[in-house]
């Protein structure tokens, strides 16, 4: 397929290319024909910094099933992380009230 399925989002964090880590500006998700994975089409993930050379990217080509599993895992991890963060915020708030 020759799709126009591309999602581009701002990304804060770092990724590894070769032996070096670099700051991210964007994450890109696409569904199009795979370049390397032995698949006709793949969910492609790219973590990039637009100010750096094109070769500085962390990339993956995943089958649709693998991408769905990753999506679900991300959802679970993010939900758990948000619960932790909410608990921490509540704890910090209680400490603040006690200090007053």
């Amino acid at each position: 397929m020759c799709t126009s399925i591309v999602e581009i989002v701002a990304a804060e964090g770092m990724a590894k290319s070769g032996d070096a880590w670099f700051d991210l500006t964007n994450a890109v998700v696409a569904y199009d024909h795979a370049r390397h994975a032995f698949l006709a089409d793949a969910i492609t993930l790219d973590f990039v910094n637009r100010a750096r050379p094109a070769g500085d990217r962390a990339a993956a080509e995943l089958s649709l099933e693998s991408a769905k599993a990753l999506h679900a895992a991300l959802g679970r991890a993010i939900a758990a992380a948000e619960a932790e963060e909410a608990e921490r915020a509540a704890h910090l708030a209680s400490l603040s009230i006690a200090a007053e």
Binding site: M1, C2, I8, H33, A34, F38, A40, D46, A54
Partner: protein, 248 residues
């Protein structure tokens, strides 16, 4: 049987708005005159496969040129540069047309050229080849291999791709050959039907061939979508089409 020799090199041409871009060139040995082919590369970029196909045309007696349409996204491996292009939202259609015009102009200046130029592209390059043949009138034949997004919905139009190529069909300036896999979804058989209906409506000279048992990219020998039987037949149709319209 004897095999034809060839000379290959990378040249720099003045692309859209005069920006220097590189192009891979393959010329058959001998004085000619030879017809010319401009290859419009696909979404994976100025890739080894397109370089190989450039040589294939020279092997078959064509002066061939394939410009790097992703030059502005920097040096690097074709995959990485193509990923940068993807992260930037693609290349503007107008820029691709400008770069392709430079490749056509380069061909027309070559000694030993017979004055005829064919366009050849697959995937996004098939779409761009068709778009070019509708917007310019300096090529003599156009081959569109499974070009997706010739038919586009309003939600797909943007500053870089402002017009659906199918809307320009009335301006197609040369004969068109289209090869498509019936298992493809972009373009889908229904979209190919729409394109064919538009070509008929405007009385254009065209040949469409649709292959069962094939999807997208069935010429790509290095990918699982390769379909040898359909690809062999498809290449024969490409060369028959070019020999019909590019002979002098």
């Amino acid at each position: 049987m004897s095999y034809r020799g060839m000379t290959v090199e990378v040249v720099t041409i003045a692309g859209d708005k005069g920006t220097p871009i590189q192009a891979y060139v393959a010329r058959p040995s001998g004085p000619g005159p030879f017809p010319g082919v401009v290859l419009v590369h696909h979404l994976p970029g100025w890739s080894e496969m397109y370089i190989e196909m450039t040589r294939k045309f020279a092997h078959n007696g064509y002066i061939a040129i394939c410009a790097n349409l992703y030059e502005r996204s920097g040096p690097g491996l074709p995959d990485d540069v193509a990923a940068r292009v993807r992260a930037d939202g693609g290349v503007p259609d107008a820029q691709v047309v400008g770069d392709t015009a430079a490749a056509v102009a380069w061909l027309r200046k070559q000694p030993g050229h017979n004055g005829k130029v064919g366009l050849f592209g697959s995937c996004s390059g098939g779409r761009h080849a068709f778009l070019y043949a509708c917007q310019r009138n300096d090529v003599d034949a156009c081959v569109d291999l499974w070009g997706g997004r010739v038919v586009m919905g309003p939600d797909e139009l943007n500053a870089k791709t402002p017009v659906a190529p199918i809307e320009l069909t009335k301006d197609l300036s040369c004969p068109l050959l289209g090869l498509f896999g019936n298992e493809d979804r972009a373009p889908s058989p229904e979209q190919v039907d729409q394109h064919e209906a538009a070509l008929k409506q405007f009385g254009k000279t065209y040949e469409f061939h649709r292959y069962d048992g094939a999807g997208h990219g069935f010429f790509y020998t290095h990918r699982p979508m390769y379909r040898p039987e359909q690809a062999i037949d498809g290449w024969a149709k490409v060369f028959a089409f070019f020999s019909r319209y590019l002979a002098r």
